[in-house]
């Protein structure tokens, strides 16, 4: 139980922090797609005896490249390309996994997590990967922020745009692998996006948004873990349910409604619709 707790707390910090960048850039769909697309990488690594993280990373990068190549064509939009790669890759993963005898259980664990089954070795990997991602966020914070806010500025400032894009991708893949056992691939998106979205309703600046998101992530995960333990329900989904309930609560309370109303009354706004 203690190991599960530590895993839940680690994931509750790392996912929302990285997820902040996804939420800010409207990359939620991409995050979900990537989580699903790395399944074959994990399965192959497992079958061949390689570290799961490596398989995940390789397939993560391969998926991103595939999405890029497919969406180069005029006729295919980017979100369609993402959908195609995600579904195809996921199907490949499930197919590969079905060749293994313990297929059904394994698949359930991969998709929905198995935090109570985290071993000491697993935990060590989770914490190390988690610290690695947090370190990268700290080291490259301002560059990632510029990329998220204004990609043209990134070019004007001669930032290594391609490298930073791949960096985010790699960080995402590492985060997914670290969080795999806690929440599973199918619900990974919730761990990445929900606490950060709640934070976006509460925070005015990005650093505080990350801090609030992390706090909410930890709280949801710990509370969810305990509830699942005592109700004998799957842990990963329970954590997600708590995080979602928190979001809905904050959303309903609408802390910035008054400010929005005042602002709307003051200026018609020069903003173009749809952006």
């Amino acid at each position: 139980m203690v190991r599960a707790l530590v895993a839940a707390v680690t994931v509750g910090i790392v996912c929302p922090v990285l997820g902040t960048f996804l939420v800010l850039q409207g990359m939620a769909f991409f995050g979900d797609a990537l989580a699903h697309a790395i399944l074959p990488g994990i399965v192959l690594a497992f079958l061949v005896g390689w570290p799961l993280a490596l398989g995940a990373l390789l397939f993560g990068l391969a998926s991103a490249v595939a999405i890029g190549v497919i969406s180069e064509r005029e006729e295919i939009r980017e979100d369609t390309a993402i959908g195609i790669v995600f579904a195809g890759s996921f199907a490949l993963g499930v197919a590969l996994l079905s060749t293994v005898r313990s297929y059904a259980t394994d698949l359930a664990h991969i998709l929905f997590g198995n935090v109570l089954g985290v071993s000491d070795d697993d935990l060590r990997l989770i914490v190390v990967l988690g610290i690695l991602v947090l370190l990268l966020v700290v080291l490259f914070y301002k560059e990632l922020l510029v990329m998220a806010f204004d990609p043209i500025l990134a070019v004007v400032l001669r930032l290594p745009v391609r490298g930073l894009r791949y960096l985010l991708l790699v960080m995402l893949a590492i985060t997914i692998v670290a969080s795999l056992q806690t929440v599973g691939l199918a619900l990974m998106i919730a761990m990445l996006v929900t606490p950060a979205s709640t934070a976006s309703l509460l925070a005015r600046r990005v650093p505080s948004m990350m801090a609030v998101a992390a706090a909410l992530g930890v709280a949801s995960n710990v509370v969810g873990l305990y509830i699942s333990f005592y109700l004998d329900v799957a842990s990963g989904p329970t954590m997600v349910l708590v995080a979602t309930a928190v979001f809905l609560g904050v959303f309903a309370a609408d802390p910035r409604r008054r400010r929005r109303e005042v602002h709307a009354a003051m200026s018609p706004g020069p903003l173009a619709p749809g952006r």
Partner: protein, 285 residues
């Protein structure tokens, strides 16, 4: 010692700020810019005037180095645009995500990211640069405001401050006065006038003829090719304007003199194309 990815090139002392030589840019097989040649010297303030679709944004992209011309050369202070940190780009307001949770201070500080370098945090020099830039544009009192809470004119000034904080010596302003009321326009123009004395070169892209009268050293009339390049008095004449604006120009002979009214307006779809190849998942128009 700043760890920067690549060192910015030296500014050659005798070189022009911007020099384009026979630049051609093709987009999907069709020329967006045809045989563009011009020079901009230090401290000059010029307007690039042309209807929507004329290639003004493409011109900016080529100067910044986002686009490489298929033919011809672009030189900034004597070398290609790549790696230069002295070019400041002030985007059209409809390109910015105003819901992004950053304050005015945060947005302007982003202009310093290249000067700060990798693995370092903003230092006293950076904070000073941001404070000075904000003072220059008169937005110091708004430091802590979230950018979405600003008026159009204020937003424009924040992004100008960002370019100043970047220590840009060449400013490219893309339709800066569009949608601003007259007092806001005048406030912005007053700031640009002050910058003239600092030797900062400025290029303003606009489709609005009215904005250009009586203000600039030179006007470049653009509609895929450079139709005219000279003092406003020479360029802003109906027969020349007609070449750029075509049927979008209405010429009225009045007793006081001939009046030329362009009817180009509003959204500039050119810039709505993603300039940097789209990020996965990012919404596209």
């Amino acid at each position: 010692m700043v760890f920067r990815f690549r060192r910015p090139p030296e500014h050659q002392p005798t070189a022009a700020t911007v020099e384009l030589e026979h630049v051609w840019v093709y987009r999907k097989g069709v020329p967006a810019l045809e045989d563009i040649s011009f020079r901009l010297e230090r401290g000059e303030q010029v307007a690039v005037l042309g209807p929507n679709g004329a290639g003004k944004s493409t011109l900016f992209q080529v100067i910044v180095g986002i686009l490489r011309p298929q033919r011809g050369r672009v030189r900034i202070y004597g070398s290609g645009p790549d790696r230069h940190l002295c070019i400041g780009y002030v985007p059209q307001r409809n390109q910015i995500d105003w819901r992004f949770p950053v304050t005015v201070w945060d947005a302007v500080m982003m202009g310093r990211v290249a000067r700060i370098g990798f693995f370092r945090w903003p230092g006293p020099r950076d904070r000073e640069a941001v404070a000075q830039a904000l003072a220059e544009v008169g937005m110091d009192a708004y430091r802590e405001r979230q950018i979405g809470e600003l008026s159009g004119g204020q937003q424009q000034r924040v992004f100008l401050a960002r370019a100043l904080a970047q220590e840009a010596e060449l400013l490219l302003l893309d339709e800066p006065l569009t949608g601003l009321d007259v007092p806001s326009q005048e406030a912005l123009l007053a700031i640009l006038d002050r910058l003239r004395h600092r030797g900062i070169s400025i290029i303003v892209a606009t489709h609005d003829l009215g904005q250009v009268m009586g203000r600039y050293d030179r006007v470049l009339l653009l509609n895929r090719r450079l139709i005219a390049d000279g003092p406003p008095a020479e360029v802003l004449r109906p027969p020349i304007l007609a070449q750029a604006f075509g049927s979008h120009l209405h010429i009225l002979p009045l007793p006081e003199g001939t009046v030329a009214i362009p009817d180009t307006c509003c959204s500039n779809r050119e810039m709505v194309q993603p300039l940097v190849s789209g990020r996965p998942g990012r919404d596209r128009p």
